[in-house]
Amino acid sequence: MAMYIRVKRDRTTYFVQCDPTETILDIKQKLHGLIDQPVTDQRLILVSSGEVLDDSKTMADQKVENDAVVALTLRKDDKEFEDVSILQPDDDFYHSRDGDGASWFGCDKIQVGCKCISLVICGHAAEFGNINIDKHRLYLVLPFG
């Protein structure tokens, strides 16, 4: 897989695998398989620049890079295209969870030692030895597999 883009509309994000040499029309055809909208009723807009993407040009031509966010707008009943609409979850919802980490995660216990931090989550213990601390924040390094 060479690259992917994130095509967003309202509350939905489609991850679409593609190649820099593919045209925007190719992408629209892929989307056609997921949403029942003909390619002529789809419009793609590169969010970082606000540019409407041209069917005949390739991804590379229009500087659509890996992991780029592209907005999808649709035309319904032969009318005008709708405006770009990408919804975000309510910010308050997210921030309110920031303060009380332990209870939020369903974490039973947090223990802070000088060399490691151990968490007990749903009865399972996990230990993180790789920790960075700067002035206000503490970073735990993820044991990604």
């Binding site: 897989m1 690259m3 992917y4 994130r6 509350r11 939905t12 994000t13 489609y14 991850f15 679409v16 695998q17 892929k30 989307l31 398989g33 997921l34 890996n66 992991d67 919804l87 975000q88 979850p89 309510d90 919802f93 997210y94 969870r97 920031d98 980490g101 995660f105 369903g106 989550i121 996990a126 993180f128 924040r137 970073y139 735990l140 390094v141 993820l142 044991p143 990604f144 597999g145």
Partner: protein, 98 residues
């Protein structure tokens, strides 16, 4: 792209992420959900709900799936994680066996 080859992951706030099945299978937990025998609704409809995973975290996880596929095919780039997402992401990764 065919609908049958994708799965829809739904976050706590009801946001939807449509990703390729092979990307979702990077997660052992999702792989089990999608491939287990029997007629689970997840297997049939290709929709998995995560009422405990918030939208930014689920998006980051999906990005990680694709990054992981790219990495496996030899494209070695860094995977950036915003510091404020780390702890929550770690919990989700643990749950998803990713």
């Amino acid at each position: 792209m065919k609908k049958e080859d994708t799965v829809k992951l739904i976050s706590a706030e009801g946001f939807e992420f449509v990703i390729d099945k092979n990307a979702a299978m990077v997660s052992q937990t999702i792989r089990n959900m999608l491939t287990s025998p029997g007629s689970f609704s997840e297997t049939q409809h290709g929709v998995v709900r995560f009422p405990e995973i918030s939208t930014p975290i689920l998006e980051k996880i999906c990005q990680y799936f694709y990054w992981s596929l790219q990495f496996a095919s030899g494209k070695e780039t860094e995977f950036y994680i915003e510091p404020e997402l780390t702890l929550e992401l770690m919990m989700a990764a643990n749950y998803l066996h990713t």
